[in-house]
């Protein structure tokens, strides 16, 4: 199978956000495989199929998120050692450590860092096409620039506004906007599939009921009954709810995905809270 | 109708093997019948056939009706007894068998309670019933199992080796108990045992199995050195003394 694409650089990305950006940066010179288009598959039962392992063992560049989000990647890489393979761990590029919010792609500052690093790696491997990669990098950076710009705009307007969420998916973006995120312990418990403590549930409910927050962010891919209940509490209290997704929805690129969510958040924050 | 059990040309095949064939017999109502036969002769199988648990050819009738599963006229004490739930009381065990085959829940009722009391009293086990099963001796447990067979006024008891692991005194007590119940209520009893001596005084008749056949005979006719030796294919001596009969297999010849 190495006839037509023999020149192409093989890239395997653990998550599809990174994979799509890699495709954009490398164009026809790369061949991209994304492992998790659905990172919410049960990590307990997540099992890599042979075709992915095969792709990985032939890959030139491997992209992983790191800080515990894709811990199986280490084993897969070690299993098919390849001296000439480079591994980009986005968390390392962005200087994050274990314990930080792993949903890194929601940080508008991280994506350009990743894009530059990957582009440099592509140029290193394929110096002949360095100019092509430089052009692609420029295009890509300008294509994703609106996300950071929009976040900065919103920061000017909403910095310090208290919000809450059922899961820390949107956390990095909220930080970029300067929103005062509350109930982080609750969110962490939901992320880890464990049970939120009673006081965390109570704090969450109180925030919603007493309008101590202006917005509830939920994971719209997860529809477990606990989250539904909070959405109901919010609705009753007149606190608006915005759903975000953990993975890049198919048919949308990164910019459209992020802007869509930012718009929804802005619109929600602008609604006047009804008097109790 | 004075026939408790009637076999007409009954055959039993299990696992491709003929256990019994062409058995014809009639057991009178109210008779105390000892069931004899070597290991594997088919004593347990015969009782299970009467209970409708084993497919048979020919016809088995109980009190004039075809034998079917769950016949309320029959009380049964199985030979192989699953380990009992040790922490429950004897009364719970006995009560579980009361209408145990009927769907639904057994709500506490005075009538049910009276019925359980009645059978416990019949075997003299009222005092045992409150104790936990794992605190009871083997003989005491066997008495509770006998009480169970009496629930619902059966007209026929099938007791499969109820003397196992009892000492001579308890064996005698068990036989006497069964005999008393049988006579007081005029019911028929099939009582299997390898130990003939404790039984002999109580028997009206003997049902002996061997070699795929089953036949009924009087005690006098069957309990003879000759016929028992043939039955068990081993030298067995029967001695009559003071109007009593003793059976003993000869260990010196072997």
């Amino acid at each position: 199978a190495r006839t037509t694409a023999s020149a192409a650089i093989g890239i395997v990305a653990a998550e599809n956000v990174y994979g799509d950006l890699a495709q954009r940066l490398g164009g026809q010179h790369v061949r991209v495989t994304s492992i998790l288009s659905n990172p919410d598959q049960d990590p307990h039962l997540f099992e890599v199929s042979p075709s992915i392992a095969r792709a990985l063992s032939g890959a030139d560049i491997v992209v992983a998120n790191g800080i515990g989000y894709d811990p199986w990647m280490q084993g897969l890489l070690a299993a098919s050692a390849s001296p000439d393979r480079s591994v980009l761990v986005v968390a390392a590029l962005a200087g994050r450590r274990d314990g930080d919010n792993p949903h890194l792609w929601y940080d508008p500052a991280v994506i350009p860092v990743y894009a530059r690093a990957l582009s440099a790696e592509l140029a290193r491997r394929d110096p002949a096409d360095a100019a092509f990669y430089a052009g692609r990098l420029r295009d890509t950076l300008s294509a994703i620039a609106p996300v950071a710009q929009r976040a900065a705009q919103m920061r000017a307007r909403y910095a310090g506004v208290p919000v809450t969420a059922t899961e820390p998916v949107f956390g990095e973006m909220a930080r970029a906007i300067g929103l005062a995120m509350r109930n982080e312990r609750f969110q962490r418990a939901v992320m880890n599939d464990t049970e939120p403590a009673a006081s965390d549930v109570a704090a969450m409910e109180t925030d919603l009921r007493r309008h101590r927050v202006r917005l509830l962010i939920t994971n719209s891919q997860a529809s477990d009954s606990a989250a539904q209940r909070l959405a109901e509490v919010a609705a009753r209290a007149g606190v608006p709810t915005v759903g975000v997704t953990e993975t890049e929805p198919s048919g949308r690129d990164y910019t459209a995905w992020m802007l869509g969510e930012l718009d929804a958040v802005a619109a929600a924050l602008d609604t006047k809270a009804p008097a109790l | 109708m004075s026939e408790a059990v009637r076999f007409d040309d009954v055959g039993i095949v299990q696992g491709g093997r003929t256990i019994l064939s062409q058995v014809a017999l009639r057991i009178a109502d109210g008779a105390f019948v000892g069931v004899l036969g070597g290991n594997g002769a088919g004593k347990t199988t015969l009782m299970r056939a009467i209970l409708g648990l084993v497919p048979v050819t020919g016809r088995i009738s109980l009190f004039g009706r075809p034998a079917t599963r769950g016949n309320p006229l029959v009380g049964y004490m199985p030979q192989r007894r699953a380990p009992l739930a040790a922490r429950l009381s004897g009364r719970t065990l006995v009560a579980a068998a009361l209408d145990g085959q009927r769907w639904g829940i057994a709500l506490p009722s005075a009538q049910a309670s009276r019925e359980v009391d009645r059978v416990l009293e019949q075997v003299g086990a009222q005092a045992l019933a409150a104790r936990k099963l794992d605190e009871l001796s083997g003989g005491e447990r066997q008495r509770l199992l006998l009480a169970q067979t009496l629930l619902g006024d059966p007209k026929l008891l099938l007791l499969d080796e109820p003397l196992i692991s009892l000492d001579p005194k308890r064996q005698a007590e068990m036989v006497a108990l069964v005999r008393d119940v049988q006579q007081a209520r005029g019911i028929a009893v099939l009582f299997s045992a390898h130990e003939l001596n404790p039984l002999l005084g109580a028997l009206d008749q003997v049902l002996y199995l061997g070699n795929g056949q089953a036949a009924l005979g009087s005690v006098d006719a069957v309990i003879t050195s000759e016929s028992l030796s043939r039955l068990y294919a081993a030298p067995i001596e029967v001695v009559r003394s003071n109007g009593r009969i003793f059976v003993m297999s000869d260990t010196r010849i072997a």
């Binding site: 049960d42 464990t194 049970e195 997860a222 529809s223 | 029959v74 699953a82 009364r91 068998a97 085959q101």
Partner: protein, 290 residues
Amino acid sequence: MLTGLFSYGFMINAFLAAMAVALVAGPVGYVLVLRQQSFAGHALSHVGFTGATGAVLLGLPPLWGLVAVTLLAGLAMGLLGERVAGRDVAIGLVLAGALGLGLLFLHFFTAYAAQATALLFGNVFGVDRATLLTLAGLGALTLAGLAAIARPLLFASLQPELAEARGVRLRLVSVLFLGLVALATAGCAQIVGVLLVFTLMVGPAATAQRLSPRLGVGVALSAGLALSEAWGGIVCAYATDWPASFWITTLSGAGYLLSFLPGLPGPRRERPPRRPGPGPLPAPSGGSSS
């Protein structure tokens, strides 16, 4: 510390949900422990995962798949392993098969699977009113089913040979019971988590069987213990801010261990009645021979 225990809606829902689960788990667990089928109970709670995943794959509500597949597995276990010997192998193989199938479903998954994954540790503080109603409905259904088969079930559990002779269909009863366990587990697990359901099925029942030799008392005790452990766990969770499942598990284990305390009824020691002694033995005459 405990002020405001009832001032939040979620706390009231938690108490109600725990009650619904405990009142089902207590009696069902009593029979489960009596029949020594804890493994089956546990395995069925896994199997639900496969059902939920499969249903999502087919675009059906996960709860349907969960209940359907768990019921099916309960039937398979009942059919395969009616005899005690080899029963654990039958359960193990059904379990492995179901999990393997679940894995295959996941492989084809494109949608979000968290519904299936959150099963292990549910969230008793996140129960909403609609879920509460589902829970109550499933619980009532399970208890009604249990009541419907109670008599032959108990009989068959205590004395299978005798029950069979008296017309009880052992296999049918066994399969129906595992179906009920499946229903109870499936219903409760997705709301309060597999762990909690299993804990509330096994712990209180085992304790109750140590404490009372009477059936009715035992079942009531089992339900009562389950309820008080569940509620106690919620109160402790509220007071300490640690997870409720942890507390309920701890209370349930502690309850069982406490039942071994000497003062309580039912010590392990056997106390055979001293039978009226025979007279003095005949003096040995003959000494050692040969």
